[in-house]
């Protein structure tokens, strides 16, 4: 190898292929951590060094694993999460003990609520100091107990291999989730013979796989055959299980329309004729009404979140319910179901496929078409350009200009809902968003993580509000130092928009603590040596998006949108799903309110 090296003074770059097999050698715990990561297929980790994790960092340079230095550990856990969501593989973050570990917490909880497989490695004080309130000691396994799928405290070097293998196995198997491994400094410094076996991990009490019961599957098929007004509710389980094709076949054979949850978007192509769109609090009126009028709901890999069901007492009162779910603890948690099918969604759909019979339901199809006609899509395209910029414009045009092929990572709030409504996702893993925990500050770091996993031919767009962006804007510097290219669309309305909207609707219009100032985002980009642009009218939008796409580095676009715009329709929290605040309508040819994003019958 060395004799072929072009320049003997410069060592050849490390690569998986040229790594020596060090099984049987005596290695330090620090080295063993990287040996395990390499064998678990890890190419990139997101982290921040510190005292208790220094031995691991010192050994890192011997291994062909990319390290991304974050600016705050919360960014590291979001990046690992973004990587996991974009790839379906386990994302890894690294932090030191104490504050390093506690800073990961928000990202871990985000991953937990959205079942994202990440492994968090934290340094811990030496085992002899545990419990002594030593410098930077915190009981992080205690802290993260309720927000991890499982966690471990490693006190000696011999535990590192088995514990880390279990951690990866638990994170990615069954219903995925975050696993934290807290490794004492002494365990990193001690040495032992490195042993590795490719035998599968066995845990006596862990049951990630469930086999669906035949009679439940038969009952579901019977309900499907008899249903007159069925709707499929497609959740993130479709994406996690890789069931997009299986679901498409199922829909094509059964003719049943599909409503998607926020995290289910992309799991079933938006352009499919049977895709109704998003359901729930900001779902389209016809979708929610169809669910309320359905006589059969097929819940596929979704968990009846309160943002999806509205008032549980009045949720789809006339519908029988079939729930296909991998996690038995989700059955009957929020909504009582008639037929539970516990198992991997893709396998269940494949199991059901031969039993499907094409049933014509002309009355139901006509009813849904009627509902759509009544409160159809916003007519963005034909909207007169009044010189104002609406967030809906930005998202809609972004969708058109990127041909719907970008990986979009959103933050949380109004822009997130507009993204879900106006960017039509045809592919799984093309929308990355914090659904369950609703974590502001998620977008930029998650996008950085996603950039490492996404198809290099696809652009990664961050869609973020002015509030959320400021929570983790420090990661702009990470983009610079690590040479990462993402496009950032700040939907800047000068408010914490969703809270402002609630204040307008439910709190008498008292805008308490929601007007928010921002730095000059163009100058901020400039200060980082990044490209910054400002867009204040729709006419300038396309040029800016194209310029951002063409620019080699990270770009920040400050979209100055209408300040007091609201997301419609809206089911107020706890209200009946069919009870929506709809968009302002045209009355006698004129818009009833100032908002021009009115309802029309014209399609996009």
């Amino acid at each position: 190898m060395s004799s072929n090296a072009p320049n003997p003074t410069e060592p050849a770059p490390l690569s998986r292929e040229t790594m020596p097999d060090r099984r049987g050698e005596v290695l330090t715990g620090a080295q063993i951590i990287w040996e395990v990561l390499l064998r678990e297929g890890v190419d990139v980790v997101f982290g921040y060094p510190g005292g208790a994790i220094m031995p691991a960092y010192d050994a890192m340079i011997q291994y062909p694993i990319r390290h991304v230095l974050v600016r705050h550990e919360q960014g590291a856990s979001h990046m690992a999460d973004g990587y996991a969501r974009a790839s379906g593989q386990v994302g890894v973050c690294v932090a030191t003990s104490g504050p390093g570990a506690t800073n990961l917490v928000t990202g871990i909880a985000t991953a937990m609520l959205d079942s994202s497989p990440i492994v968090c490695i934290t340094g811990q004080v030496g085992a002899n100091l545990l419990g002594s309130d030593a410098f930077q000691e915190i009981d992080i396994t205690g802290v993260t107990l309720p927000i991890t799928k499982h966690n471990y405290l490693v006190t000696s070097v011999d535990e590192i291999v088995p514990v880390m293998r279990e951690a990866f196995y638990i994170a990615r198997s069954g219903r995925p989730g975050p696993v934290l491994v807290d490794i004492c400094k002494n365990a990193q410094q001690e040495s032992t013979t490195f042993e590795w076996s490719d035998e599968p991990v066995t845990l006596p009490g862990y049951r990630p796989v469930y086999v669906p019961k035949d009679d439940h599957v038969a009952q579901a098929l019977e309900l499907i055959a008899k249903a007159k007004r069925p709707v499929i509710l497609a959740g993130q389980g479709v994406v996690k299980s890789g069931a997009t094709e299986a679901l498409t076949r199922f829909v094509d054979a059964s003719g049943i329309p599909v409503a998607c949850t926020l995290l289910g978007l992309g799991g079933f192509p938006a352009s499919h004729a049977q895709n109704l769109g998003m359901m729930g609090m900001h779902g389209e009126a016809w979708v929610n009404t169809a669910i309320q009028e359905a006589d059969l709901l097929l819940a596929f890999g979704m968990r009846f979140d309160d943002r999806v069901t509205g008032n549980l007492k009045t949720f789809a009162p006339g519908a029988r319910k079939v729930h296909v779910e991998l996690d038995p603890s989700e059955i009957n948690k929020n909504v009582k179901v008639d037929v539970p099918i516990i198992g991997d969604l893709k396998k269940v759909l494949e199991l059901m496929q031969p039993g499907l019979t094409g049933v014509e339901r002309p009355a139901w199809t006509a009813r849904i078409a009627e509902l759509k006609g009544d409160s159809a899509v916003r007519d963005i395209q034909h909207l007169p350009d009044l010189g104002k910029l609406y967030a809906a414009h930005v998202i809609h045009d972004l969708w058109r200009l990127t041909e719907g092929r970008a990986v979009v990572v959103t933050d949380v709030g109004q822009h997130q809902m507009w993204e879900a409504q106006y960017y039509h996702h045809d592919e799984p893993r093309s929308l990355i968003t914090s659904g369950g925990l609703g974590t502001m500050g998620f977008a930029l770091p998650a996008a950085i993580g996603a950039r490492f996993a996404a198809d290099p031919g696809k652009s990664v767009w961050v869609v973020v509000g002015d509030g959320g962006f400021q929570m983790t804007a420090c990661e702009l510097t990470t983009c610079v130092q690590e040479d990462i290219k993402v496009n950032i669309a700040i939907i800047n309305n000068g408010f914490l928009g969703m809270v402002r909207q609630w204040q307008e609707f439910f709190y008498g219009g008292r805008y308490v603590a929601t007007p928010i100032k921002s730095p000059d985002f163009v100058k901020l980009a400039d200060a980082h040596g990044l490209k910054g642009m400002r867009v204040e009218s729709r006419a300038d939008l396309a040029a800016a998006v194209r310029e951002a796409e063409a620019h080699p580095g990270t770009v920040v676009i400050d979209f100055r949108v209408e300040q007091e715009d609201s997301v419609y329709p809206m089911v107020p929290a706890g209200a009946d799903l069919g009870d929506m605040i709809k968009r302002p309508r045209r009355v006698d040819g004129r818009v009833a309110q100032h908002n021009p994003i009115f309802e029309t019958g014209e399609d996009r």
């Binding site: 799928k149 499982h150 196995y169 198997s173 845990l203 009490g205 049951r207 059955i331």
Partner: protein
């Protein structure tokens, strides 16, 4: 819900540090209310046995079971509320007893198959074992004498009869790797 009753769960867990904390933390964060909890060794090395009694309806009971199963260190969960079972608590009761009252108290103890384990000039300490209802019954009759102190264990429980072979816990569960 009308079918809220006291339910008894037997949980087998790996005997490792922190496992009890994982189980109780789960009950707390899912808002399941624990009436009593006992934990000890089981017949099997490396396996601890937890008996949890909590108020729950049928649906909640199923979700308790499913949630406890999700814990990696949990080997087996069995709700035995509706199975023929033996359920026992242990109580120590210190009751005021001068010389006049002593004989009557000893007689009461015999009726409850409780025993006097400590005698002092002004008090007796009674040890009682039985189903939770029996302990409650004993406490009611002792009340007039004046209870100075009482301590009670949570319930431990076991199903009656021999365990059918199909339901017998395998020492180490083999799991399929996906």
């Amino acid at each position: 819900m009308s079918d809220v009753v006291k339910r008894t769960f037997v949980i087998f867990v790996e005997d490792r540090p922190g496992v009890l904390n994982r189980v109780t933390s789960l009950f707390r964060r899912r808002d399941f209310n624990i009436e009593s909890l006992t934990v000890s060794e089981s017949h099997e090395p490396g396996v601890s046995r937890i008996t949890v009694v909590c108020l729950a309806n049928e649906d909640t009971a199923k979700r308790i079971e499913a949630n406890v199963y999700k814990l990696v260190n949990v080997l087996e969960v069995d709700e035995i509320t509706h199975k023929p079972r033996i359920e026992r608590c242990l109580a120590l009761i210190k009751v005021r007893a001068d010389r006049a009252a002593r004989a009557e108290l000893i007689q009461l103890c015999e009726m409850f198959r409780a025993s006097v384990v400590d005698v002092a000039p002004e008090s007796l300490t009674i040890e009682a074992v039985g189903a939770p209802g029996k302990i409650q019954g004993l406490l009611t009759v002792l009340e007039p004498f004046g209870i100075e102190e009482m301590v009670q264990s949570g319930a431990i429980a076991m199903t009656r009869g021999s365990v059918p072979k199909a339901e017998r816990r395998r020492p180490v569960r083999e799991i399929q790797v996906a």
